[in-house]
Amino acid sequence: MRQAVTAILYAPGTNCHEETGAAIELAGGKSEVVLLHDLMEGRRGLGDYQAAVIPGGFSYGDHLGAGRIYGTLLVAKLRQQLVKFLEAKKPLLGICNGFQVLAEAGILPGRSPGKRGLALLENQSARFEDRKIRLVVSAEKTLWTESLQGEVLAMPTAHGEGRPLFCETSSAQSPRVAFRFADGAGNPTTRYPENPNGAPGSVAGITDATGMVLGLMPHPERASLPAHYSQDGLKLFLNLVQWLRRS
């Protein structure tokens, strides 16, 4: 059987695609960098891939808002492919800018392209925060955190806009939080800088109703390789690869 391939979507300004590929490879998976340009030109299709990651970076220079242009293009140009991908329940991960893109596109939290239910606002400190933080994994079920519930993971964060604001009207269906920023004891924290962006409820990452889509501000791919100070992030990619093998 052909090995499942994870698409790593690249748009101008994406800058974490190589290390994301390296982490997937170390986890035993296979990945391919796919240019958004090629998707929009029809040279590649999302349907050719079994999973997808929108990696970190400053797509389109973060102009008008982080993830805004990328999200706009996804919805305006690739809506059909995207809906199909979601309906097929394929794993989709947005890291940092990728999370911002998923929010701007309306894919997280509501799986509703074009309808935004979450904004990632400028950090409370009003500055870019490069920190090594701890994350506590919530009990919510997602393929990405399978068997990791309750664990505390160490990985870097590096972003200027990561403070979640959820749409008030959707409060009936509260967001499914996958990760929370944690203090030294592993408890969720709103204290700066352990919670580097001032996220209410310490929210660092969320999943959708199916548990297939995950968005998080911290960078698991930067805590994956043996050279890194922590390899906790690799666990997410191991879960992805296992899931792809199973299905």
Partner: protein, 958 residues
């Protein structure tokens, strides 16, 4: 075309809150609120409604076609870019609009409206001018402006010929100034001679090209005159280091890494633009040095960078700032904002963020390095062949940065700030990021014969250099312009950022263009390489440039410079030795809170240090990831253990006392920092960056001694300089006086190590372990130290780490010990001495240290033979006869290291011929303790000391 406006207001604006509290802290307590409204100006026949999803997120932004600010709430100041400058966001807005099916949008601009609740109009404008905009590139938009178009527009001046043949010297010089060529008389005469001998009057474009090519910035006339470039390259040739792949000639230097890869380094200063417009200057400092990496060989990939800023003391009083200089606090805060603005989107990890101060840095030091990675087979360029296409890639060409090369080669005066505004550039990192991704793809597809960056001198410099051996013919009409008003010479000289020039084999052109399209990188066929040995250019149907390459590259007159040994009048130090607990506490606080010793992570934590997934050791480490590591270790090949290590040494205080000795110390410091971490000094190369005042005889003398010293020392130790840059324009002319920068040399190391996991870091590892001081130590040398500076004193003679052989022996010994795993933590002594290092190691570990000064003093007698004490001539610093205990703690014994070894380590087992003295031990309790003969001289908790350590810089930047 109609111009629409969309006003957006955020319900939750962290930026506004942050400014509000900043202003209140800076004396505007009556400011009860600050509101920021963002405005989009959109030109074209469009339906604005259609664009709203792009312009605002309704979850937190409200939009309106009119301002949502209530005028009665307070004065509003609206800030926008000047009309000639394109907003960075403009291309993104246009792309987003097209995706939404709104093709009618022709141009877009942004502005920000700040409403100051509780202030009067005058106060609001004053704040805005001081903190919120830079008048060189931005402006206050007045309420009643009704522009007819948003586009930067204009008609170009025609090309003119400028006859020089009949002018006398005075007239030549007047012309040189009038055109901002800043060419000295000898050069003006050479150009005049050329006109006479060829019997043809040169065009303005031609003279501009010559002036730019011969500027000190591009041609290094000062260094060439003093024979310094040759001196350094000779030294490197003599070393003939087996790892060296490329030195000095290319845009960076490179050494062999592992598995057929090469790592590169380059350092660039961008002092002039950073002094007059710190945000733009520092942003483009990074952009420029990163392009040097991209322009190495056939295109290296940047894997790390640094930012090193030297300013006057940012805490200085407003009225003490010399005319023509900006307040150093503004320079520092703007530079931090700019580094974050540029390097984070570039996705290049910050390796060393360093901030230093010296009263001489009125014209600031703005240095940045870029470290790169490239397959060995692509590390050397091929020569462009006649017929190759000159392909210009990246951003459009605008009016920005014209005359940067010539202006930055001259001194700065109070007038420069206004007069040379065009010399400041705006950086757009997203444009550079696009081709950073595309270049390795082009390279691997063999589309690149040669590549170079466009920096100072723009197209003129890049094409002139690349075509120097063959000739090149350019079609200036092909160049995409931001500003239609550019004339031929401006197109040639524009220093618009984010452009590269490639020599592409003609059969590869289609493929190259396709790759560039996929990566959404702009490109144009600028011309082709020829066999005419001439630089030619056509514009609007006429030939505007036709210069012989031989004239351009060989005819620059190099005038001899006089060297005269300057007379220094050293002042002896007069510092009271601490006698009590309280005085010791005061001494520690002086050093920990000193600008050079303090916690600078409030700047550093704004820069991405882990992007690319290559970081093994970043600038901060230890238990809470906030301890400065003084090293950066990258594992550039994902999944492989191999590491690149870089370190930096730069000290403005030492240069004031003894420039040549400073130069040697900087080499020793930088190398020792890497060696103690685990690198072998035999697998290392160096990069030098000089910043010196405008050359006068005394400066020329010092500069020559500095270069001689580092050239000789590098040969003696066998560690080559592979790359470097000099700037000899560090003088601010304030009319009645001149402020000169201290003679500055920053040394960077680039080394390779087989396994990043073997790196030893600074923080203590285990209570009960012994602490050793390895290397020399002389308590009587406090000159140039941070401790002395905290008393406003400098002193007379710098510490000397001893003969070259003993330094090399120490490096070898350390490397042996490291390989044998004998020490568990280690750090090289530098600014702040043993005291600062002990604090940092304790802070980074949660442990403490118990230091026995008596044993240290006893060891001191042993390690410093009497003959050295006597043999050095006159006793200079105060208290020479007696060992000073504060000298032991705060003396900066460059070349010495602190090691932490297991408690059963036998000091006798230490390699022979290397001094080693016990310092004390690591303790569980997080305190620092100093023991005297019978008493505890002083002790304090790490948490209390941290209070002093982490305030200084925070107060400057927050």
């Amino acid at each position: 075309m109609p111009i629409h406006s969309v006003y957006t207001l955020s319900k939750d604006d962290a930026e506004a809150r942050s400014w509000h509290s900043f202003f209140r802290r800076h004396g505007y307590s009556e400011l009860s609120n600050l509101i920021i409204e963002r405005v989009y100006w959109l030109e074209g026949n469009i339906e604005v409604e259609k664009l709203l999803p792009l312009l605002a997120n309704p979850l937190y932004q409200q939009t309106s076609s009119r301002t949502q600010l209530k005028p009665e709430m307070g004065p509003v100041v609206e800030i926008a870019y000047r009309p000639a400058v394109t907003d960075p966001e403009t291309p993104s807005i246009l792309a987003g609009a097209r995706a939404l099916g709104e093709d009618g949008l022709e141009f877009a601009r942004l502005s920000k409206r700040y409403q100051f609740v509780g202030l009067e109009e005058a106060g609001a404008r004053k704040i805005a001018a001081r903190f919120l905009y830079n008048k060189i590139v931005e402006r206050v938009r007045e309420p009643n402006e009704t522009p007819t178009t948003l586009r930067p527009s204009g008609k170009p001046d025609p090309v003119t010929s400028i006859a020089l043949a009949l002018l006398n010297d005075e007239q030549l010089m007047a012309l040189s100034r009038q055109h901002s060529w800043y060419a000295p008389l000898a050069q003006m005469r050479a150009i005049q001679g050329h006109e006479r001998s060829r019997g043809r009057v040169l065009t303005d474009a031609e003279i501009e090209i010559v002036a730019q090519t011969w500027s000190d910035h591009c041609y290094h006339t000062t260094w060439k005159s003093l024979g310094l470039l040759r001196r350094l390259t000779k030294a490197t040739e003599r070393i003939h280091h087996p790892l060296v792949v490329s030195v000095f000639k290319d845009n960076a230097g490179g050494i062999e890494f592992y598995d057929d890869w090469v790592v590169t380094i380059k350092g660039e200063t961008h002092n002039f633009p950073s002094s007059i417009a710190p945000f733009g200057g520092v942003a483009t400092k990074h952009g420029g040095v990163i392009r040097d990496t991209l322009g190495f060989g056939k295109g290296a990939y940047p894997i790390g960078g640094t930012t090193i800023m030297g300013t006057m003391d940012p805490r200085m009083a407003e009225d003490a700032v010399p005319p023509g200089a900006l307040h150093p606090q503004l320079v520092v805060t703007e530079s931090i904002r700019a580094t974050a603005y540029y390097t984070n989107p570039m996705g290049i990890p910050m390796m060393h963020p360093i901030y230093r101060q010296h009263p001489g840095y009125a014209k600031c030091l703005a240095l940045g390095h870029s470290v790169g990675l490239i397959p060995k087979k692509h590390a050397l360029k091929d020569a462009p062949q006649p017929g190759d296409v000159a392909l210009l890639i990246g951003g459009e060409t605008g009016r920005d940065g014209i005359h940067g090369a010539t202006v930055s080669s001259t001194g700065m005066t109070g007038e420069t700030l206004e007069r040379e505004s065009a010399a400041v550039q705006i950086g757009h990192p997203i444009t550079e990021r696009r081709f950073t991704s595309a270049i390795p793809v082009l390279r691997e597809a063999d589309c690149i014969r040669s590549i170079t960056d466009l920096g100072a001198g723009g197209i003129s410099c890049a094409a002139g250099e690349m075509g120097a051996e063959t000739g090149v013919a350019l079609n200036l009409d092909a160049v995409p312009l931001k500003d239609q008003g550019l004339t031929a010479w401006e197109i040639l000289l524009s220093e618009s950022q984010e452009r590269m020039l490639l020599a592409v084999p003609p059969e590869k052109l289609d493929q190259a263009q396709e790759i560039l399209d996929c990566y959404e990188v702009g490109h144009c066929v600028l011309g082709h390489f020829t066999d005419t040995k001439r630089l030619e250019a056509v514009w609007r149907g006429g030939k505007v440039v036709n210069l012989e390459m031989s004239f351009l590259w060989e005819a620059c007159p190099i005038e001899p410079l006089e060297e005269v040994e300057p007379r220094r009048q050293p002042k002896l130090l007069d510092i009271p030795e601490p006698r009590s607990q309280e005085e010791w506490g005061g001494a520690f606080r002086r050093v920990l809170s000193h600008y050079h010793g303090c916690d600078q992570s409030s700047a550093g934590s704004r820069f991405d240090t882990t992007v690319q997934g290559r970081t093994a050791v970043g600038p901060y480490g230890g238990r809470n990831h906030q301890m400065p590591t003084n090293i950066a270790v990258s594992a550039p090949l994902h999944g492989k253990p191999y590491g690149v290590i870089t370190t930096i040494a730069m000290n403005p205080f030492y240069g004031e006392i003894d420039p040549a000795q400073m130069a040697r110390l900087m080499m020793v410091e930088a190398i020792t920092k890497a060696v103690v971490a685990g690198a072998d000094f035999r697998e290392m190369a160096l990069c030098d960056n000089f910043y010196t005042p405008k050359v006068r005889p005394g400066v020329a003398w010092d500069l020559s001694r500095m270069v001689e010293t580092i050239a000789d020392f590098s040969v003696a130790i066998g560690v080559p300089f592979i790359s470097g840059k000099d700037s000899s324009s560090g003088t601010l002319d304030c009319g009645d006086r001149k402020i000169e920068v201290p003679l500055t040399l920053a040394v960077a190391t680039l080394g390779r190590i087989p396994n990043v996991k073997k790196i030893v870091t600074k923080e203590f590892k285990r209570a009960g372990n012994k602490l050793l001081l390895v290397g020399g130590c002389d308590a009587s040398y406090l000159a140039g130290t941070v401790y002395a500076d905290s008393y406003g004193q400098r002193g007379a003679r710098l510490y000397d780490p001893g003969p070259t052989k003993s330094i090399m022996r120490l490096w070898d010994a350390l490397h042996q010990l490291h390989n044998a795993g004998k020490y568990v933590s280690g750090s090289a002594i530098a600014e702040g001495g043993v005291g600062l290092r002990l604090f940092e190691a304790a802070y980074g570990s949660g442990l403490g240290a118990d230091i026995d000064l008596v044993r240290m003093e006893a060891g001191f007698g042993k390690i410093l033979p009497r003959r050295e004490l006597k043999g050095r001539g006159k006793i200079d610093d105060a208290h020479r006869a007696k060992l000073r205990s504060d000298g032991l703690v705060f003396g900066e014994f460059i070349g010495s290291v602190i090691l932490e070894v297991p408690s059963d380590f036998k000091i006798e087992s230490f390699p022979r011929g290397v001094s080693c003295t016990p310092l004390g031990e690591v303790i569980t309790e997080p305190i620092l303790k100093l023991r005297g003969a019978e008493t505890i001289l002083w002790q304090d908790s790490i948490s209390a000391l941290t209070q002093s350590w982490n305030k200084t810089f925070q107060e400057v930047v927050e």
